[in-house]
Assembly symmetry: C2
Homo-oligomer: 324 residues x 2
């Protein structure tokens, strides 16, 4: 059986894993990205670590291709990473070609959120289904689309930016230039910001205590802790987030008629409450027929989704004969 090497390139760490045809990570490692050292150094160390892992695994010969998930914008077709806020100093870096030169294996590049979505759809909460929408709720809100069984990322690898649909043209300004994007309601950043606004006025309650009277210290995780302590402000923030996320999910159910909608990312560690509210608003908002089909679930693979998805992407690209 052939294996794939998956690499998940993040702003903080790079993760490596040799993944089998069932989405199982056979062996893995993780090193700091050290983005300050610039792209040359990052790619050299990526190559070093990949070679080391392959060698130590004892199954290097059965590894047939490499998949890299990277922050975008990037071109999957050209194997290039354009300039990205998460990787300072990168400008049209031909990462696929550079890693190919080191490893002498076919190398495929894809957006990191798309890789995570493909991982979840293939081996996680979307396993066995053809049409899967994945919303990634972290510092920002991203996503990925599996349509008729295939990852869809569009001709510029920018498709699936599910967090940048405005659900309120008079809402908070978004980094993307629009107002009221889904990201402005359902990201960890937005949850913390909204809680800060409310607690700065109230100046009391569990959240006020948790942050030690300093609203700047509030994180989305802290808002969830306050929710569990029945803080009414936290409850309000959570309700607003659930409603916004439900609105988005209802819209995507109407647009995609998916089998599964998967909620992924750090914000979802903040619990069952958000999932329950999103389900309620999402199901109620969508048309009855697609609402009946679409199950709204939390992701299953956790941090491994990106790695497993990058490997799966390489496996599929190799099968259809894409080349770099």
């Amino acid at each position: 059986m052939s294996q794939m090497l998956g690499i998940d390139l993040g702003g903080t760490n790079m993760s490596f894993g040799i993944v089998d045809a069932k989405g199982k990570v056979l062996t893995r490692s993780k090193i700091p990205t050290l983005t300050v050292q610039g792209p040359k150094s990052v790619i050299r160390r990526m190559g070093d670590e990949a070679l080391r892992l392959l060698k130590s695994s004892g199954i290097a010969k059965s590894v047939k291709a490499v998949g890299i998930g990277s922050p975008g914008p990037l071109s999957a077709q050209k194997g290039l990473v354009f300039s990205t806020p998460n990787l300072p100093g990168w400008r049209k870096v031909p990462i696929a070609a550079l890693i190919h030169r080191r490893l002498r294996l076919p190398v495929y590049l894809e957006n990191d959120a798309n890789c995570a979505a493909l991982g979840e759809a293939s081996y996680g909460a979307g396993k066995g289904f053809q049409n899967v929408v994945v919303l990634t709720l972290g510092t920002g809100v991203g996503g990925g689309l599996i349509i008729n069984g295939e990852l869809f990322s569009g001709p510029d690898t920018t498709g699936g930016e599910l967090g940048h649909f405005s659900i309120n043209p008079d809402g908070p300004a978004c980094g993307c230039g629009q107002k009221g994007c889904i990201e402005q309601y359902a990201s960890a950043t937005a949850i913390a910001r909204r809680a800060r606004e409310l607690v700065s006025k109230a100046r009391k309650g569990p959240l006020w205590k948790l942050c030690g009277g300093d609203p700047r210290a509030i994180s989305s995780r802290m808002v969830h802790q306050a929710l569990l302590k029945r803080d009414p402000l936290a409850r309000q923030v959570w309700a607003e987030t659930g409603r916004a996320l439900g609105t988005a999910v209802a819209g995507y159910i109407n647009v995609f008629n998916p089998d599964r909608v998967i909620l992924f990312g750090g914000v979802m560690q903040g619990g069952k409450e958000l999932l329950a509210m999103t389900r309620r608003f999402g199901k109620a908002g969508a048309f009855p027929q697609p609402a009946k089909r679409a199950k709204i679930l939390s992701a299953k693979l956790g941090d491994d989704a990106g790695l497993i998805g990058a490997a799966e992407m390489a496996r599929r690209s190799l099968a259809v004969g894409h080349a770099i």
Copy 2:
């Protein structure tokens, strides 16, 4: 060369056309639907007219399949039309099987908005492109998606409901149960309603004169006439519509990374102004890379899109060997 018979089933008329492999309508006809007579009568007359057209065309033998575009909800897979507001009295009507029995040809069914989208994408403003988003602005707002060159309508044939994404959860109530759907801003119905609200207060100006002092008489077309007479209220309605439509288009550009976004339907007959505003807001709102790729255009095929798209859908279904 093989031809296809396209049928566009509407609430008012049924249109028939024999369409060649280049999307050209070789011969056509149109009869009233007379929905009050119920599904049996409609389908009998549909069969009669199809047979008559085939016979009179002199090329009946080269017609290899039939495509029917119908109002939904429906199941393309099962060839069934469920109950629909546009066809009163219809309940799980096996239209594909019934027409097959009359015509002895393979019959394929698809949602009417999806057919129109496929027609425009294949032979109209989206010709030659692989990723096309079509927004249909009429009494309601519908749409269709061409992804990697193929019509995507999802497992329940409900995908592509692009008008029912909420862009304002506190906006006007929508027939679908949500609030602030795109349909509540960009449909002919919404445009007329908003103009009625404004003119009922102002009670003067070109639009007030055009409607003879009776706001109930206002149509979206009349609002456009008032716009051309520089009515400030009409200008406000048009600006609000353009902004909402631009917001939606920006969102869909981010989600789909399309080559073309096509605006289709009665509302677009109300002019260049709306297209210009939608372009401005749509391009400004989307991410730079996909915004650069996506051209925002008016539809080209007019009323023929549904017919041509139904025929194209049949051609493609026949080619991949779907059967009814």
